[in-house]
């Protein structure tokens, strides 16, 4: 088991290195790197000073090493707009995005899986057909449009919740989160729902497909032949089988939730990494873009690793393979 984890970790490390190479050389190929790292309104003297300071007159591989050194020390350049370290900026905005992504994931699991289970067990009922139709709508509707509609309906017309912004922060065990105050909850509700919509649809469809496939399997028929109650067949036999792919996919989707939050954060003016990214792109604040990319890559690799490990714990066929059957 430990061998397995170590192997996966090494692979993950490899991927991060690979991505850093891609990002670095990509950035350098696309445009003159000096403009990546220097404010657009610097004059010639500043530019030359920056070239010397940043070592851009050195051979490319030396620059890459410098880049890595800087990255290891947490220095990925300074933001043009804010003047401070790009990395620090992103880390500062991360908790807000984490909150949002986390809430959305919870919503997706709590709403999506039970609905999918129902739709899978009674595929021909009217309610199931309604659930499936709703799920198609869920992933067809562009997130930004749904966000707009949500704001229109709940914030403007009904005035149940505020339209934009993040609420007050509460504190628990040293962690600050807006999920811990009622004001915070009222602010996070719409954006979390908006972000979750796609994932809810995904969870519904995944669970339903898994249930339908499982129900047709021989082991379900055999379980019935043993006289087991329907409840046990579904909750133990079926669920354990479909949980594996469902958990895997949902876990991986968490990463995409973080990336996807860009749109939601823009609409709801949620002060997270995503909004930071969009502003950075529009304002040509390149160090921030690069820093965001690296952080995201790191994140994805980490999530993949964790999900791989969880998967191996859940599926005995994978876990016991290393030990030899």
């Amino acid at each position: 088991m430990t061998v397995f984890i170590i192997r996966r970790m090494l692979q993950a490390l490899l991927v991060v290195c690979l991505m850093s190479v891609i990002v670095f050389f990509g950035v350098n190929i696309v445009g003159d790197p000096i403009y990546m790292l220097v404010s657009p309104d610097a004059d010639q003297a500043d530019i030359e000073a920056a070239i010397a300071r940043l070592g851009l007159d050195r051979p490319i591989w030396e620059q890459y090493v410098l880049f890595l050194k800087g990255a290891a020390q947490g220095d990925l350049g300074d933001s043009f707009i804010f003047g401070e370290s790009a990395l620090k900026l992103i880390l500062h905005h991360m908790p807000a995005t984490m909150e949002l992504a986390f809430s959305a994931l919870i919503l997706a699991i709590v709403i999506g899986i039970p609905l999918g289970l129902y739709a899978g067990l009674y595929p021909d009922s009217r309610r199931s057909k309604g659930i499936m139709a709703a799920s198609i709508l869920g992933f067809s509707l562009p997130t930004f449009w749904v966000g707009l509609m949500l704001i229109m309906l709940f914030a403007v017309e009904l005035r149940w919740v505020p339209a934009t912004g993040r609420g007050d922060l509460g504190s628990f065990l040293g962690i600050q989160s807006s999920l811990l105050t009622p004001d915070g909850l009222s602010h996070i509700f719409l954006p979390a729902l908006n972000l979750a919509l796609l994932k809810i649809s995904l969870a519904i469809r995944l669970t339903r497909a898994g249930v339908r496939e499982a129900m047709g399997q021989d082991y379900v028929k055999y379980a019935r032949a043993k006289g087991l109650s329907t409840r046990r067949i579904i909750l133990v036999h079926v669920m354990k089988n479909i949980m594996i792919p469902v958990v895997t996919v949902m876990g991986l989707e968490f990463g995409s939730l973080i990336g996807f939050s860009v749109v939601t954060e823009t609409i709801f003016a949620w002060p997270g990494m995503g909004k930071l990214l969009i502003d950075a792109i529009l304002q040509l604040d390149r160090p921030v873009v690069v820093a965001y990319l690296m952080i995201i890559v790191l994140f994805f690799v980490l999530i993949n690793l964790i999900v791989d490990i969880i998967y191996s714990i859940l599926d005995p066929r994978v876990r016991l393979q290393d030990q030899g059957a």
């Binding site: 067809s140 509707l141 562009p142 930004f144 403007v156 496939e213 990336g259 860009v262 529009l282 993949n304």
Partner: protein
């Protein structure tokens, strides 16, 4: 003792009526009223988009026809030139009905073009991976998996940030965001097919590799490709709209649906809902109908769910 029966019973049992796979597919597809309606709606939308120059009172890209005095008029108002703006007008004075139809043209073109290019490219890569096997296959699939673990919107965003604005760059970004889905689907199917006995048999007969690929393996990949294709096209259209909405997509001068919606965003809170809602509804109809069709196609073409 026995009843007399005709001589025909002396011969073998009569053959059951056989229908071609395509007929069966067609019959099964149209069993779903929802999917049929969705298909109809989508075809109508495409038709409207193609005929746009002939059925709209205004060409919203021709600045000579657009005047700010027509701006922000509610649905049903009369324009400066005398025609009725059934869906109202946007901030710059464009008749929304015209703008939506022209916008659909762009959105559909971009979506379909990027979809087709991504399909061809992804299909080529997938086939190569399945056939080359060994290290090449592992390398390609690692790249595919890597890319697929990132959400398409993020990839597209990154590409756009790197490449800049412009229709061709948007299409390129969308292609890069999508090709991996096609590659993975094609490779998986190609692998399954390659392992099947008829390929071995064909190889034994000395049929050339390319012939095997094109005449035998490819047609079998069609089914999952079609399903992935429809869903991906809808996703591409949606993605372009999202990018445009965020301001990094198509330029303002030839607005796609996404740009229209973005433009209307600021008017939402002041009650001029139509500027965003109508283009939004058009986008919705398009994407949802494609997805409904694709969803049903998946059910119909999925052999495992057959009774």
């Amino acid at each position: 003792m026995t009843d007399a029966t005709t001589d025909s019973a002396m011969t073998a049992a009569p053959l059951a009526k056989v229908e071609t796979p395509f007929q069966r597919f067609r019959a099964e597809f149209f069993e779903s009223k929802i999917a049929t309606v969705a298909l109809g709606i989508f075809l109508i939308i495409v038709l409207l988009a193609i005929l746009a120059p002939w059925i709209t009172p205004q060409n919203p890209y021709d600045l000579a026809q657009v005047t700010i005095m027509d701006g922000r008029l509610p649905p049903g108002s009369e324009a400066f030139d005398g025609y009725t703006m059934w869906l109202g007008s946007d901030g710059a004075g464009r008749d929304l009905y015209s703008a939506i139809l022209y916008g659909l043209r762009i959105s559909l073109t971009v979506g379909l073009a990027s979809g087709v290019i991504a399909l061809l490219f992804g299909m080529a890569v997938g086939l190569i991976a399945a056939y080359a096997g060994g290290r090449i296959e592992v390398l390609i699939m690692r790249i595919v998996d890597l890319q697929l673990s990132f959400p398409a919107s993020l990839v597209a965003l990154m590409m756009v940030a790197a490449l800049g604005k412009g229709v061709d760059k948007i299409i390129l970004a969308l292609v890069i965001a999508q090709w991996a889905y096609y590659a993975r689907t094609v490779r998986a199917t190609a692998l399954v097919e390659r392992g099947k006995e008829y390929v071995e048999a064909a190889q034994c007969l000395g049929i050339s590799q390319s012939r095997i690929v094109f005449r035998h393996i490819l047609p079998n990949c069609m089914a999952p490709l079609i399903v992935v294709g429809t869903v991906q096209t809808a996703s591409a259209i949606s993605l372009e709209a999202t990018l445009s909405f965020l301001g990094v997509g198509l330029p303002q001068t030839e607005p796609s649906i996404g740009v229209l919606i973005a433009n209307g965003f600021e008017y939402m809170l002041s009650g001029r809902y139509w500027i965003s809602v109508f283009p939004g509804a058009a986008l919705l109809l398009t994407v949802v109908s494609i997805n409904l069709v694709g969803d049903h196609l998946r059910d119909v073409l999925n052999p495992r769910l057959k009774k």
